[in-house]
């Protein structure tokens, strides 16, 4: 009797333990999709089987919009249930363990970087070339960052990415500046900073505790010192021949140090992250915010003052300005049993109402050709700014680091910038550290 009770207890314990292991990978959806529901009638046997799409998006600043997109797709496809998850931290950190376990979500946010490429090369992401209706609608310059060496197309851009300097027109006015004083080169920018500082206003807010440093100091510096001078740094970096100790790269750090030494940067710049930087600007604690155009919606809508935009004038007088043209965080679909429905959602986001829901929610630069302009919501100043940097011949564009550098290098950009700002490294030393890592085998 004792043995029987023991055996039954063990079976219960084992059943409880093993029941937690009943995972639902994306590929397993096909099993449920092909199984009719208990309430199916004879007339419903030809109906589309139910599908659950798992979706993980980097939507910290547009979660409501993402939910709206999911709801709109569900209403158009009643057999589909979208399980939307918000990626809480960095995309790569979130997706990597899932990729290792072959449990990627069906539809996910990805960047045009080496990590997403590695997922594609492992056969975990679908080749969107198989869906020509999608690729043909994307602006060509936003297709290239997602093209693999074998010609595969592993992700769709979420928009044109660039950076700008937002400025508080009220604080500019307090400092005796107007739109006519917008600086066009580096000496003029320093002079503007000096004027603002003289009015006891913090001149420039920029985040360096996260990857904002990559998109601001690094990319504008590289675009100004290399692209604007006709040197394709992106190709050289990718093929391993770039020298990060050369003066043009050292200057990337030197300009940050000049701003710090002049007292032009916000207090706490080395511990400031992008959301905090935006909040600080919106609370009127600084005259300018160096950040991405992807924040246009929250900045223009959240400011209680009039906001202007300007290009970061890191150039010397008479030289071209550098700007950053890259792809915003985009989308990819997993290569699994749900690929067909994931592709339909991607089509909805590119060719359907999903595009307008997304664009309206973010106010960002559209990533598709031939859209209905009357349905686009974009601040006119931002639209004019994007037009300027993409068409004005005074600008030379550079690629952002995540489209150029390996993962191990990307994390070092904020680190080296912080070390220079805090005086722990000189610009030359920071460049050497970066170069050593680049050349590490």
């Amino acid at each position: 009797m004792k043995k029987l009770i023991t055996l039954l207890s063990l079976l219960c314990l084992a059943a409880t333990t093993l029941s937690a292991c009943a995972a639902q990978p994306g590929g397993a959806q096909s099993e449920s999709a092909s199984t009719p529901t208990a309430t199916s009638t004879a007339s419903e046997t030809t109906a589309v089987p139910p599908v659950t799409l798992t979706m993980a998006l980097m939507c910290n600043d547009f979660y409501d919009t993402a939910q709206e997109m999911a709801a709109a797709f569900e209403s158009q496809n009643p057999n589909v249930t979208v399980e939307l998850s918000q990626i809480p931290n960095a995309i790569n950190e979130y997706l990597q363990p899932k990729a290792a376990a072959n449990l990627l979500p069906d539809f996910m946010s990805v960047n045009a970087d080496s990590f997403a490429l590695s997922l594609y090369e492992e056969g975990l992401l679908a080749d969107i070339n198989d869906y020509p209706d999608i690729k043909s609608r994307i602006i060509p310059q936003l297709v290239d960052p997602f093209i693999a060496p074998d010609g595969g197309y592993f992700g769709v851009s979420g928009g044109l990415s660039s950076v700008t300097i937002y400025y508080n027109k009220e604080l500019f006015s307090q400092a005796g500046l107007s739109d006519a004083d917008i600086p066009q080169d580096w000496p003029q920018f320093l002079a503007v900073c000096e004027s603002i500082q003289s009015a006891n206003i913090t001149p420039l807010i920029v985040a360096t505790a996260d990857s904002t440093a990559n998109n601001t100091f690094w990319t504008i510096g590289m675009a100004t010192n290399f692209s604007a001078k006709g040197k394709d740094y992106a190709a050289a970096v990718k093929d391993g021949s770039f020298d990060f100790t050369q003066p043009g790269y050292v200057d990337v750090y030197a300009k940050a140090k000049t701003l710090m030494d002049g007292g032009y940067l916000v207090k706490g710049v080395t511990s400031l992250k992008a959301p905090g930087a935006m909040d600080t600007f919106l609370q009127g604690e600084g005259a300018m915010l160096f950040a991405g155009i992807w924040l246009a919606g929250p900045v223009f809508n959240g400011a209680e003052f009039e906001v202007g935009v300007m290009a970061a004038p890191w150039n010397e007088p008479g030289e071209k300005k550098g700007c950053f043209l890259g792809s915003e965080t985009g989308y990819a679909i997993a290569k699994n049993a749900n690929e067909e429905w994931s592709a339909k959602f991607l089509d909805f986001v590119v060719n359907g109402d999903g595009f307008y829901i997304y664009q309206n929610g973010r106010g960002n630069q559209p990533y598709i050709l031939d859209y209905d302009e009357s349905r686009i919501k974009m601040h006119p100043d931002m639209a004019a700014y994007v037009k300027m940097i993409t068409t004005d011949t005074d600008f030379a564009s550079g690629q952002p680091p995540y489209q150029v550098l390996q993962s191990k290098m990307l994390t070092q950009i904020p680190t080296t910038v912080q070390q220079v700002l805090n005086g722990e490294s000189t610009p030359e030393q920071a460049a050497e550290i970066f170069n050593d890592l680049y050349n590490e085998k």
Binding site: S118, A209, G268, S271, T415, Q418
Partner: protein, 304 residues
């Protein structure tokens, strides 16, 4: 014969009881083996490879990962920051927890209320705790900064987590705030096991509060001190969540610890091989420190 039969029956019962005992712990043991022992063993395997965490193929590189970790520019800082937390945080945490426990044990009224307040931070997610302290430390729009600005002392506000000289202390305060409640509760449990007649006898002999603390309370608390010191040491060597949210190891490498670097290597730099190498080193350090501490403190327990 009778004796032999009795002995055989006794042995059979003992074996049955042992088997039943093993059977009942088997599910938990299975979980520990599958989710802790096996991954640890796999990390020893992967630390000898160049696996990037995604690829289905990898190459064996011998001890190259260990070499790369040790020769990296930031390695001395990893060691010094981890040692800083071990040497500063562990003793300070335990001293504070003992003091709080002693005060709470004798406080009488509202003791339960104070215990709840002490333990509340520990109920929060570490991420939430990190976000709270990021807000507190913000030198421009944080609550402390705003208060100082209000009273005309904004010049006193520092960027506590943005300066190399202050970031580790700022981080330690956050860790202390979060963890003190947990260790205080353990000490409260230890205090409740001390016989009261010892204190009564001490009171009759005219021994003061401080002497009671030094000569009675602390020696009698040695088992709890042993547990807490070892737990705190392991936690500080292997924990990284608060550092990740609060400072991300910055500015520069100023608050980068070994555990946080292992996380970055694995999930930001896609260098799982190196991350596993660093994790193996962390394990060795953690086990060594724990064993030394256990041996030293257990002796004190016996002496007490």
């Amino acid at each position: 014969m009778k004796y032999k039969e009795k002995r055989k029956r006794h042995l059979d019962l003992a074996r049955n009881d042992t088997l039943i005992g093993f059977a009942f712990i088997a599910p938990s043991a299975l979980i520990i083996i599958l989710f802790m022992i096996v991954p640890a063993a796999m990390s020893v395997h992967y630390c000898l490879t160049d696996w990037n965490g995604v690829s289905s193929s990898y190459n064996y590189v011998g001890l190259q990962n260990f070499t790369n970790v040790i020769t990296a520019a930031e390695f001395p800082k990893l060691i010094s920051n981890t040692l800083f937390l071990m040497v500063l945080y562990v003793p300070v945490l335990n001293i504070l927890s003992i003091l709080f426990a002693v005060i709470l044990f004798d406080i009488g009224k509202l003791s339960n209320f104070y215990k709840i307040v002490m333990y509340l931070p520990n109920i929060l997610s570490v991420v939430v705790a990190g976000v709270i302290w990021r807000m507190i430390y913000n030198p421009v729009i944080g609550p402390v900064a705003q208060l100082l600005k209000l009273i005309g002392l904004s010049h006193l506000m520092q960027d506590w987590i943005g300066q190399s000289g202050t970031v580790m202390y700022a981080l330690s305060i956050g860790i202390l705030w979060y963890a003190t409640g947990f260790y205080t509760l353990i000490y409260l449990g230890g205090l409740s096991s001390i016989p009261m007649d010892i204190y009564e006898a001490a009171a009759i002999d005219g021994i003061g509060h401080f002497q009671k603390l030094i000569y009675i309370t602390i020696p009698m608390l040695m088992p709890s001190i042993t547990i807490n010191m070892v737990l705190a040491t392991i936690a500080v060597i292997t924990g990284f969540e608060l550092q990740l949210v609060l400072t991300e190891g910055g500015p520069g490498y100023a608050s980068l610890t070994m555990a946080l670097k292992a996380y970055f290597l694995a999930f930001r730099e896609q260098r799982l091989g190196m991350s596993m190498a660093l994790s193996v080193m962390i394990t060795i350090i953690s086990v060594t420190a724990s064993l030394i501490m256990l041996k030293t403190l257990r002796k004190r327990e016996v002496e007490s």
